[in-house]
């Protein structure tokens, strides 16, 4: 679906997606739009399958153009035998498009939306329902399913409901006089998807945060973190959470830090330069050993950059920003599953180590629409680390327990303001065990070492990156018998799902490809990577940034240099077909250059 922002492509997309999911299809929704409210060219693409898919193709079977700009701009994206559905009266395709239509056997349908609206006495806003209904009939879907779906929205507005139903009847029964009845065949449905959720990464993250016990949310609007703020705010009357739209990112970060110091679980989210403003607070929390969680939703920079597009350029920012040396943790969500699962994990890590955890996401995850199995609500624990709450134990505490430099693993006891116990100062100046300022050499060393010592325990406790292997069969598993890996790809974040869809493609069937996915990015574990690297013919880094930032961290950690990189930094996510073709190229050249292509080298000694 393409059209101007505000024209209704999102509502058509959302209804069709939900309808198809209920019919038993896995739907993956992808939005492109400019940073504008009205006008500008926007799109809402649905990729549909009866198997699990989590990526988008560059090409489409059906193009719905709500204005003539779509006819000008998006024709190239049509597949062989595709269908164009448009509403522009008397549109004459230019010569090169007529050629394209002929070559690709594209069928063009003009849908006379204004005529039908006039006949029904309906307002322009209902054109979306008409179009949706026609699309629905083209997809051979049941009209009653659409009616019940639309009915849910207008259940309380009877007059509107009736008009909507008439529009559905009209749209559904429309037949193009030239093309006749057109049917776009879908594979047989898998009813298992019907009970799934249709959810964005932001909604998944919001649900995960509530699940994790977050009771206060403070944020400042900035795409692509704003949908999380909106979702949490929409739920506030049900969750009874404190939700604060702060006056800036510094405030949001400080409110959340104050709330965490007091002992609740609190969350904030931002993007790029908003996170710059939060970074001083990251440093503060390191010094006062205050557990905190920050969501950094990435978009292309520098500066305002491309506000409504995607990127993975924030990894080094998350891992390195802010004053001084301290232990922090950086993790990244990859899709709607771990956007939920990682929220309790992030808060547990923050409280276990009394550190800040930065959770990376990106615009693609934040706004993509996933078909998601309902979440397991029993899996997560709430682990508050060395938090003392027992009244007897509180009574026994000394002020100097709070920042005791000799505490095991550098993690000292923590107790909350308002507890009947000895008090302490959460001191941003260098301080002694009870939080009194102490600039002596001895104390400075002890406290620095205390805070940095957490790094070792944190790193040892984090999971290794996750390995996915293609071409695995039940009988002979090439990976387990020690075969050489043809291509080892390394990635993180939203790249992972696309790569895994690519690995499952028919074109790569039987190839010995392994994909190593990093969720825990700092501290970075490289043992598994180094082991796999030794048995790989070729290694490639797959990232959505210019420098190959994960590659830089890998090299910094273990010396492994990965010069072969598939990088993308144009604000678009990796598309399935695009990534597939570059992976096929890599595999082909690996076979050709078996003798002389090491693909990687060690730049230094490993740690």
């Amino acid at each position: 679906m393409v059209g101007a922002s505000g024209q209704g492509i999102n509502s058509i997309g959302a209804i069709v997606a939900k309808g198809l999911k209920r019919s038993g299809y896995c739907v993956f929704g992808y939005r492109e739009y400019p940073s504008l409210i009205k006008g500008g060219h926007a799109s809402y693409q649905l990729d549909i399958s009866n198997q699990c898919i989590r990526s988008t193709e560059t090409r489409v079977n059906v193009l719905v153009a709500l204005n003539h700009h779509g006819l000008e701009l998006n024709m190239e994206e049509l597949k062989q035998g595709g269908v164009v559905l448009h509403v522009t009266p008397g549109w004459q395709f230019p010569e090169h498009h007529q050629k394209l239509i002929a070559e690709r056997n594209v069928r063009v349908i003009y849908f006379p939306v204004d005529d039908i609206l006039n006949r029904l006495g309906a307002r322009a806003i209902l054109s979306n329902v008409l179009l949706t209904a026609f699309l629905w009939s083209m997809l051979d879907q049941d009209i009653d399913a659409l009616k019940s779906l639309v009915g849910e929205t207008f259940a309380k507005k009877k007059a509107l409901l009736e008009l909507n139903m008439r529009c559905i009847d009209e749209g559904y029964s429309f037949v193009d006089p030239e093309q006749g009845t057109i049917s776009v065949a879908l594979p047989p449905p898998d009813k298992g998807f019907a009970s799934h959720l249709l959810i964005t990464g932001s909604q998944a993250m919001g649900l995960g945060a509530v699940h994790a016990g977050v009771r206060l949310y403070a944020g400042y609007p900035m795409t692509p973190s704003s949908p999380l703020l909106s979702f949490i705010a929409e739920l506030e009357n049900k969750t009874h959470m404190v939700v604060k739209q702060a006056e800036d990112e510094i405030t949001a970060a400080q409110i959340v830090s104050g709330a965490m110091y007091m002992g609740t679980r609190a969350l904030t989210a931002t993007s790029g330069v908003g996170f710059d403003l939060m970074s001083e607070t990251l440093s503060l929390n390191a010094m006062i050993e205050n557990p905190t969680v920050f969501v950094l939703a990435q978009r292309p920079g520098p500066a305002t950059g491309l506000p409504t597009w995607t990127a993975q350029g924030g990894l080094l920012q998350a891992a390195n920003c802010s004053a001084g040396e301290f232990t922090r943790c950086v993790i990244s969500v990859s899709n709607s599953q771990d956007a939920f699962d990682l929220m309790p994990v992030a808060f547990n890590l923050a409280e276990q180590y009394q550190i800040s955890v930065v959770v990376l996401t990106d615009k693609q995850i934040a706004e993509a629409l996933y078909t998601q199995h309902p979440y397991d609500l029993e899996k997560a624990d709430i682990d508050r680390g060395r938090l003392v709450v027992d009244p007897e134990k509180l009574k026994a505490l000394k002020s100097s327990d709070r920042f005791n430099p000799h505490a095991e693993g550098g993690v000292s006891l923590r107790w909350l303001p308002g507890s009947d116990a000895a008090t302490y100062c959460a001191q941003a100046d260098e301080h002694n065990a009870m939080g009194a300022v102490d600039e002596s050499s001895l104390n400075t060393n002890l406290q620095m070492e205390k805070r940095l010592r957490k790094f070792r325990g944190l790193k040892a406790g984090l999971p290794e990156p996750h390995l996915t292997i293609s071409g695995r069969s039940a009988t002979t598993d090439w990976m387990d018998v020690g075969d050489e890996i043809e291509l080892l790809a390394i990635g993180w974040g939203s790249t992972g799902d696309v790569f895994q869809d690519v690995m499952c493609s028919d074109e790569l069937r039987g190839r010995k490809i392994a994909y190593l996915h990093y969720t825990y990015l700092w501290p970075l574990r490289t043992k598994e990577l180094q082991r796999l690297a030794k048995r790989s013919k070729r290694i490639v880094l797959v990232e959505q940034n210019y420098q190959g930032q994960l590659g830089m961290l890998i090299r910094m950690n273990c010396g492994l240099d990965i010069p072969d990189r598939i990088l993308k930094y144009d604000g678009r996510p990796f598309f399935y077909d695009e990534l597939l073709s570059v992976v096929i190229e890599r595999c082909a050249s690996t076979s050709e250059n078996e003798q002389n292509c090491p693909g990687f080298e060690y730049a230094g000694t490993s740690s």
Partner: protein
């Protein structure tokens, strides 16, 4: 503020800290520090029952000279941190302290929104009319033309009319104290801590090292207790006049108080009828009800 009735009344010594005070002789911080301890004790608050948040500056170096759950943070940021702490646990009185530099330069946005939000916290402005800790630079409250460190010819900017600014934000509590009158400051602090909303107290404070224009003697000659003179804190117009007109005499005491404006937390619809605090509510939540609409 909720103050639980205690069977054992706190003693002033409970607030005693072994850390030695390092302020200059004659610094106004000694008086404010003393008044804070008196006020807390007189309100029957033990150190473990209070949260004291300090900004960066000479006053902030007092964060380890008193007992209580304390926080000493980053320059200019104390108000949002203190607000977050309070919103997380409404049962603990939260008092924030900040200097004129932090409050009216680096953190002026936080201050404006703090008053506007009417967070249920007490904010004590240590106003010594300069940046003491960074060796006597002009703040935005230093008189224009006054030579200071880094501005030997005096600052070219206008002096910020802080009280005019505050009254433009519809405050619910405005008071002024003087570091030379502990009894007056104690009275103001007690009223502020008991106030339901953002209680702003300006403490006029001597800085013998860097402030040679509004000295202890200067302030001593001019200050007076406006309440003792019959000023009614509910009189907004008179309060504004007393707050802003400080050329001849400086009105101290509780200048303005509005008791019937709900504070930030009371305005949160989702929290109405909720008896617990956010701190007490941390647990794993079943969120399946919230995803029903997504199926």
């Amino acid at each position: 503020m909720n103050i639980a009735l205690q069977t054992r009344l706190p003693a002033l010594s409970e607030y005693y800290s072994e850390t030695k005070c390092i302020w200059c002789d004659g610094c106004g911080n000694y008086g404010i520090w003393t008044a804070v301890r008196y006020a807390l004790v007189e309100l029957n608050l033990h150190p473990w029952q209070v949260c004291l948040c300090y900004d960066v500056g000479c006053h902030g170096n007092g964060s380890d000279k008193i007992e209580g759950y304390r926080f000493h943070g980053l320059h200019g940021r104390v108000i949002p941190f203190a607000a977050g702490a309070k919103l997380a646990n409404m049962k603990v009185p939260v008092i924030a302290f900040g200097g004129d530099g932090a409050t009216f330069s680096e953190g002026i946005g936080h201050f404006v929104h703090g008053v506007r939000s009417n967070y249920p916290i007490t904010f004590v402005l240590h106003n010594n009319t300069n940046y003491g800790l960074t060796t006597g630079q002009a703040s935005s409250l230093t008189p224009q033309g006054q030579p200071m460190n880094t501005s030997p010819n005096g600052i070219p900017e206008h002096t910020l009319a802080s009280m005019d600014l505050i009254f433009s934000l519809n405050p619910t509590f405005v008071a002024r104290g003087f570091s030379g009158d502990i009894k007056l400051m104690t009275r103001i602090l007690k009223a502020a801590i008991q106030h339901r909303g953002f209680a702003f107290i300006e403490m006029l404070q001597a800085c013998p090292t860097y402030n040679h224009f509004a000295t202890h003697e200067y302030l001593l000659d001019r200050y007076f207790d406006a309440n003792a003179d019959g000023h009614d804190p509910s009189n907004l117009q008179q309060a504004k006049a007393l707050a802003t007109q400080v050329q001849d005499r400086i009105a101290c005491g509780i200048l303005y108080q509005c008791q019937d404006t709900p504070h930030f937390y009371d305005r949160l619809i989702p929290r109405q009828g909720v008896e617990t605090t956010c701190v007490e509510e941390v647990r794993r939540y079943d969120v399946s009800e919230y995803w029903k609409e997504l199926v």
